[in-house]
Symmetry: C2
Subunit: 563 residues, 2 copies
């Protein structure tokens, strides 16, 4: 097998890739032309009502790609998702990818791009990383239309008796804009509105994004939008979008966005890239509609969940799996040599040096994630995502450790040898073996548990904490939740992704700690209760040298500076 040249930049690899017309990808995926709404030559939305029924075909099996506790640079979940799917396609399987859409704000800030890397990317990366098909803009519009309508309602007489001090919903922008975190609006006198303290979140943190990603169809979307609680009355009763009567307008603003987006990997694997809720105050998975559509079309669907397995996988299993009615058939945990060394105590600046001894103390983090996934009734496969700086000595040590622990593992060089290369073949073979095994998926907790007990279960079973304590406001919130009849919802933990604990500095597999819940937010439209631990940033800032400073267009209008 001929080796591919080492990727220099993701943008360059993407631009040199042989991209196929989206009609060809659709044909490969079994999507009739009548169901396609083209957005240029290489993107299309799918009108799912026009897909051909195929009653004899069982729904595709879902492979969830998650990760160990990551380094700040990320461990390559999207890259492994794409690379694994490509290798499954190489082995003759009918496979589709389901991924989240990137958020524009971080792309202008730190990241440059978020569509996989090296030879395992989805295309056209320039478009997907910029406005794509406008879905996030539609979510932004719907969110901000709601808030303009709320403030207008108050201004026009406030028939619903909304307390301006108790509005829990914010405006959003898909932008990293620190200065909008805390603002005062409605200034300028009686003709300009009612002054109140407010703030902006980034669009991916909007409950409308979470609703968008958990809705099963357009009518369910409308139903969920109506259930969103945006604030409370002066007598502390929740006020919903349905009370305001604008769920129809919000649904209208989302009616095209809700159709999943078809694109392709460098290897030509069909990919649905759709939706992208935050992984902290939301569940961090692509849309239910995209996952369901992919299952309808393909035999195997490879998808991912945000952050490490303690957050992303747990939320996939306890939130998305419930609302999408899907049981994952296999789980892949992405691990990297550099993340294991970081958990073994190596400083971030030293991670590129070979250090098998540090690996030995860092593997405890991976071990806990593996055993956690087993608690959902699934034996995971570990994908060791190869980096150019990894040494054979380190990789051999890690493979031997996995074998000794009875953990299925494979080195995946999907960044350097993906895109139709053999870099993911061994991983794909292990995943196929896992898919062929017996299935005994279960949720971590029953919905009948109290909210407090659900949180305690996650914290003890998944994080390995001794217990949980609740702040005074959180305790008050727990009582309100039960009083409002919201106690039967699943829980969405907002916790740092860098540690099993709520302190990002505590690496490895810590014991003897308590998780502190400082507040709870009920997302009645999305259908979960967010438990806030530590500092949760819902509007990121830009760094000193934003990626935007390096961005440009070339003479042909091509993107420059998207990495």
């Amino acid at each position: 097998m001929k080796s591919l040249p080492t990727p220099t930049s993701d943008l360059e690899v993407a631009r040199n890739a042989a991209i196929q017309p989206i009609d060809d990808i659709a044909a490969k995926a079994g999507i009739p032309t009548a169901a396609l709404e083209h957005y240029g030559r290489y993107k299309a939305k799918i009108d799912t009502a026009k897909l051909l029924p195929n009653p004899g075909k069982p729904a595709g099996k879902v492979v969830l790609v998650t990760a160990m506790s990551p380094t700040p640079a990320g461990e390559g979940k999207s890259t492994c998702t794409v690379g694994l799917a490509d290798s499954l396609g190489r082995s003759g399987r009918n496979v589709m990818i389901a991924l989240r859409e990137p958020s524009l704000g971080p792309i202008l800030g730190m990241k440059g791009g978020a569509t996989g890397g090296g030879y395992s990317q989805v295309l056209p990366m320039e478009d997907i990383n910029l406005h794509f098909t406008g879905d996030f803009h539609a979510v932004t519009s719907a969110n901000n239309a709601l808030m303009a309508l709320v403030d207008n309602h108050i201004y026009q007489g406030n028939q619903l008796n909304i307390d301006p001090r108790r509005i829990t919903f914010k405006r959003v922008l898909d932008m990293n804009d620190r200065a909008l975190r805390e603002v005062v609006i409605g200034l300028g006198g009686p003709t300009q509105g009612t002054p109140r303290q407010d703030g902006f979140d980034i669009t991916v943190a909007s409950e409308i994004m979470a609703v968008f990603c958990l809705a099963s169809d357009l009518q369910d979307l409308k139903h969920r939008l109506a259930k969103i609680t945006f604030g409370y009355t002066f007598d502390r009763k929740p006020v919903t979008v349905g009370d305001l009567g604008v769920e129809g307008a919000l649904t209208l603003l989302l009616r095209d966005a809700i159709k999943p987006n078809l694109v392709q990997s460098i290897a030509g694997t069909p990919a649905l890239v759709h939706g992208g809720p935050f992984a902290n105050i939301a569940h961090g998975c692509n849309s239910v509609i995209a996952t369901s559509t992919a299952r309808q079309l393909a035999d195997i669907v490879v998808t991912e969940a945000g952050f490490g397995a303690d957050l992303g996988a747990e939320k996939f299993m306890d939130i998305k799996a419930r609302y999408a009615d899907v049981a994952p058939a296999a789980v892949v945990i992405v691990a990297t040599i550099r993340a294991l060394k970081m958990h073994g105590g190596v400083a971030k600046t030293e991670l590129q040096k070979s250090d098998p001894a540090a690996l030995e103390s860092g593997v405890a983090n991976l071990r806990r994630h593996v055993h956690n996934v087993e608690k959902f009734g699934i034996v995971p496969v570990v994908a060791i995502n190869r980096f150019a700086t990894d040494t054979e000595e380190e990789l051999d040590w890690l493979l031997a450790w996995c074998a000794a622990e009875g953990i299925e593992a494979a080195v995946a060089d999907v960044w350097g040898q993906g895109g139709g290369g053999s870099g993911g073949d061994e991983l794909a073979a292990k995943v196929l073996t896992a898919l062929a095994g017996p299935q005994s998926f279960r949720h971590l907790y029953p919905l009948e548990l109290s909210v407090e007990e659900k949180i305690r279960t996650i914290v003890q079973e998944i994080y390995g904490a001794d217990g949980v304590d609740f702040s005074v406001p959180a305790l008050r919130r727990l009582a309100e939740i039960e009083a409002n009849g919201w106690g039967g919802l699943p829980v969405c933990m907002a916790k740092t992704q860098y540690s099993f604990s709520d302190d990002p500095a505590i690496l490895g597999a810590p014991k003897g700690f308590t998780v502190h819940v400082r507040d709870l937010i009920t997302k009645t439209g999305a259908g979960f209760i967010v438990a806030l631990t530590g500092t949760v940033m819902t509007m990121p800032g830009l760094p000193k040298e934003p990626a935007a400073m390096r961005m440009d267009v070339d003479d042909e209008g091509g993107a420059v500076g998207l990495f």
Copy 2:
């Protein structure tokens, strides 16, 4: 000729219209398939670099549709633009329409839709009135990226010495959101930014929208973006986007939006609907790129300018015509019986009653607009846009008056008998006669005049005022403009559209008044100086019963409540 059924709602007419695949419309317009980027079946962006050169073809003649001073409901400029173009097409001419894109904010507020009316609409109206191809979202993103980068620059050390109290650029949303007019941002302590007084405009008021609409190509767009002044240093020097070094990133965010959007009228006339700057603090015309592309493809291009002729037409002649290097070959002034009666003193609630006597005192408004257009070297044609409530008596009186005044006029029933019907044929015949006549277009003023003299010329020659006075801040601004070397730019008047004066209550053709300029804003990227008179609203509010309350989706995802 069989009459068409009377339109009940624009949405219903649009939905029942026989829409053609956009490839067929493109073929009719001479656009090769390779230049099309589809957005669904009925919309496409045009990659203008891929249009076939046709060196033998002269550039199409431009027909500008403008209006008398309107009623708050508008006099149907877009409807007449579409209807006139359709009738020119019926007569065998190779014609294209160039229109502005509607803004989402007002659609959710008052208007419901802004794509023409009755049988003279552009399709698909549901899409064009909602997110369309995402152009306005791209402008919003570019504008807000700039402001996030500006506030981040200040936060990260403020190397450019920007005075946070002298930032003249605002964030924008395409939303009618009163509560965002005056805000304080950057609260929350030292890690959240620098507190400052701020506000949001609606997206169409962004200078980036004006730049977008005046740029001749992607490189000119970047060049103009770099020239935008967003604020001043502590020592009062202007700071530009180029100083910050982010024009490349902003251009990248606009690289797809800048391609003009191809759609069609109900009669199948190709239409470019692209860009939409405010008609008060900006020039109120569709993009230069769309107009140039239409002229390249068609023999006649029918386009419009916002507000009445005192604003829209004057700005077209003195701003857009200069930057687009286009001389309009004919001008149509849309007049309505109801607007003439309003200018004749009839109360808004009584406008539906026949009242020829009121017409007689109202025509002075129309007469001044006609003579104003003649000052640009063009003899206009008056289109009497027929409403269902107009009586024959009123129409006959108006036609007789026009004949006596030597004004070319035709009744146009393009709302009720457009879309391939004969309602615009007489108007089209008069426009063709005008196009065949001698051309002697001239700008109203030379750029060499001082800013003060340019303003005085517009105010005296077009508005009929005795003169202009400047507030103390405006006088200071005039001195700054000359000191900064901006004095050679054309002027963009921000004035009420309802009166020739700066007081919306003074109707008809007033005399003996003075226009008060209270401030001036230099848009160094767009390339004009805005003179602010009266109250200029750059962020509209929602009414007591917003149109959004009636919006919904039907079971097939179709729009409900877009009028």
